[in-house]
Subunit: 451 residues, 2 copies
């Protein structure tokens, strides 16, 4: 039995310890947990045998850095992941508490189990195994693990933008995506960007009684409804002028590859989404809608009365959380400006509307013709026993763009999540066989790169 | 100096004690405060010299009853008010804590100061003054004060529906409305009804990541936006089929009386509402829009992420609090059925929508030609020194309909609130001169009725 097989129990216990830290980056009261999670990763890297394991403090949450540079002449890989997690609301829908990992049916359930602590831990344990058994790595490896991926990633972005010499590498390895299907090793070669905003709408200068003023006073919630329905039609077409101008359709070759992926739309609707019907632009298929088309999504509306019972208030103001996913070649700043202009144009009488940017990131398309992607595909194929497929992801990993722009390196997105892992939702899970195979696949990848 | 002038300080202290009880009827955790408020009113009535002051327990919050029947052959009046109050959110907008009454510029600021504790207290102190100074009242008086006006009023409604002999009266006196303007004594002769609902919309069967599923998954918040904009246009016209069929326009005489009321629409917009423009059906004036036309109002939307920062969730479900104000001769059950049918018709693909009734009440129109309204008008005119005007209110006082249907008595709505008293909103206040004059006006009213 190899080190990787012998130590599964220890790997699992270590992962559980990691998952018990509620490192929610969007909530300031969890700042001490962020610190604990960063220190946990640093200490694990140090224990694994990586050199110079340390925290890089800055304006935001600490980055964790470590390196092993004992393979002169061999390529240098930069391992990226994040130790922060999403909020857990609605808490009542979790079957087990989000920060008390529980194993059910070969899955480990906890916030961050898949996104991204489980996958960060894969990277750590892969190098640990090689270092413990051979005393060295087949190529040079650096770790850069951040704690703001779910919020803005400003710290890592500004750090990478300074092009620090210690980050010099040949490729970034990003373990934060998912496999297309169980047993189907997957490399992600495209990501959507995002512009996340708040739409602040103000009507009256104080809350009003709907009996006394209903019929004459503006209602900011109704105004938000008018704005969002004016900007997206019932078929999912975004009506922001100019918004689609730079959208590049996928190549015919890529679409043909997508058509060969095992996919049953009815199964997807029933098992992954569970809604009466799918929505979105009817002239595009699901892959194109979720990977290669932009979106316009309202995440929540604050304002007014949402408690139990009845309150007949016309709120003075309301705030909608609205994001737009972007695809190549849309530009975040331009999309934001287009959104702002469109809001100004469709804002109804009686209210004022203001758009505030929360964060943004560009879309990424990676050219799959490079040796590191080839090595990753081969390694995963060997461990999983079936051919690696290339897909895109509808999500956003802003750092991919930063690595390309600032460090001039491509990213290899080899992820081990599954489509039903409930990312950002209650009952997030990680499939334990993928956890163990992921560790071996990353180790095998290092061996191939080092050959 | 009369008893009423001599005891102003004591009246004010008593009112403050009443206002310190956070008797919020929509929030179950305030149930003990409801009890305390009911007992406070009972004890005040008893101390005022009313007989048989007691709580009537039932399915909901206790009713407070008291009577003085020492004027055989004279009319019997039923005094109505409520000791429960609205919730206080958003708490941060209060300049002083809602349950710590504070006096600023001759106003007392507290939740319930105007709606309706201040006005209940007016009734209590009016009878107290007469009883303490003359040992009797000029006519028979019964009190029926409830604790569910802001939630549903089910207890009082079922109690009144039983037509208990002890409620037999010639007219109800309701002190829960407002004056049209400071110095302008006012009787309200019309109220809107209400249908208060929750619109529950379900998309996916669990929360989804907007990166992974955005473009294919339904969004219940967007669906609510589509439904509410399909049911009300930008000019305030309600698009629910059949909704306006029974709406009765005000008589020419009533409209002419409204046209004589002192009213500056621009002042109203700036000072009472404070929004960039008024809204609502442009073909009707403000009085007709707020008194004699129905409304469709979204009070809040629950679901999704509304915390600080960003969460890229597509929520599985969302709930909108939606009310419709009704006018004569609309029927609540019919309006509810029309709303449900309209929602089913406009509900977008990918979600299911369900309407749940929270509470409802019919609209009321009182014929002003009766001796009790004449007496009230004369009493207020004597105390305030200017002619009493007749208006309607856009709010809903369901008990008016119950009194008419079950007890066969008209209601006299003599209210002492002011248009800028911030009912149901932060910084609710009551104008102290109106508090003191209200007490005297009610006492004078009893004298006129007893003549």
């Amino acid at each position: 039995m190899s080190y990787y097989q012998e130590n599964r129990e220890a790997f699992l216990e270590g992962l559980k310890t990691f998952l018990r830290i509620p490192s929610i980056s969007t909530e300031p009261e969890h700042r001490p947990d962020i610190q604990r999670a960063a220190e946990f990763v640093r200490d694990e890297l140090s224990a694994a045998g990586m050199a110079k394991a340390e925290l890089i403090e800055g304006a935001g949450h600490p980055l964790v850095y470590a390196e092993w540079l004992g393979a002169p002449g061999k390529p240098t890989l930069l391992f990226y992941g994040h130790y922060d997690v999403q909020p857990v609301e609605p808490l009542e829908e979790w079957k087990s508490p989000p920060f008390e990992p529980e194993i059910r049916n070969d899955n480990i359930y906890a916030r961050g189990s898949c996104d991204d602590k489980g996958q960060v831990y894969i990277l750590v344990k892969a190098v640990e195994g090689l270092l413990k058994t051979t005393g060295k790595l087949p190529c040079n490896v650096k770790f850069l693990i951040e704690g703001e991926e779910e919020v803005s990633g400003e710290h890592i972005e500004s750090y990478v933008a300074k092009k620090p010499p210690r980050l010099a590498s040949d490729a970034a390895i990003i373990c934060d995506t998912e496999m297309f299907a169980p047993e189907l090793p997957t490399i992600c070669v495209g990501l959507r960007g995002i512009v996340y905003t708040e739409l602040h709408v103000q009507g009256a200068d104080h809350d009003l009684h709907s009996g006394v003023y209903g019929g004459a006073a503006p209602n900011p919630i109704q105004a938000i409804a008018e704005i969002v329905t004016a900007l997206k039609d019932r078929d999912g077409h975004i009506l922001i002028p100019g918004f689609y101008d730079r959208v590049q359709p996928p190549s015919r070759k890529e679409k043909e590859a997508w058509a060969r992926l095992p996919f049953d739309e009815e199964e997807y609707r029933k098992k992954e989404i569970g809604s009466p019907a799918l929505t979105g632009e009817p002239e595009f298929d699901v892959f194109e809608r979720t990977w290669a088309r932009p979106t316009f999504e309202v995440h929540g509306i604050r304002g007014g009365f949402i408690g139990e019972g009845a309150k007949t208030v016309i709120p003075a103001r309301a705030v909608a959380k609205i994001s737009m996913r972007l695809v190549a070649d849309q530009r975040p700043e331009e999309a934001l400006a287009q959104f702002k202009a469109a809001v100004a144009k469709v804002c109804p009488r009686g209210v004022t509307a203001e758009v505030k940017l929360i964060h943004h990131a560009g879309a990424s398309l990676v050219n799959p013709d490079n040796r590191f992607i080839d090595a990753a595909a081969a390694a995963m194929q060997q461990v999983f026993g079936s051919q690696t497929v290339y897909i895109r992801s509808g999500g956003s990993i802003p750092i991919v763009g930063s690595f390309e722009r600032s460090l001039g390196i491509p990213s290899v997105m080899m992820g081990f999540g599954l489509p039903d892992d409930n990312l950002h939702a209650p009952n997030e899970k990680f499939h334990l066989p993928n956890f163990y195979r992921g560790i071996e696949a990353v180790a095998r990848f290092l061996e191939i790169v080092g050959q």
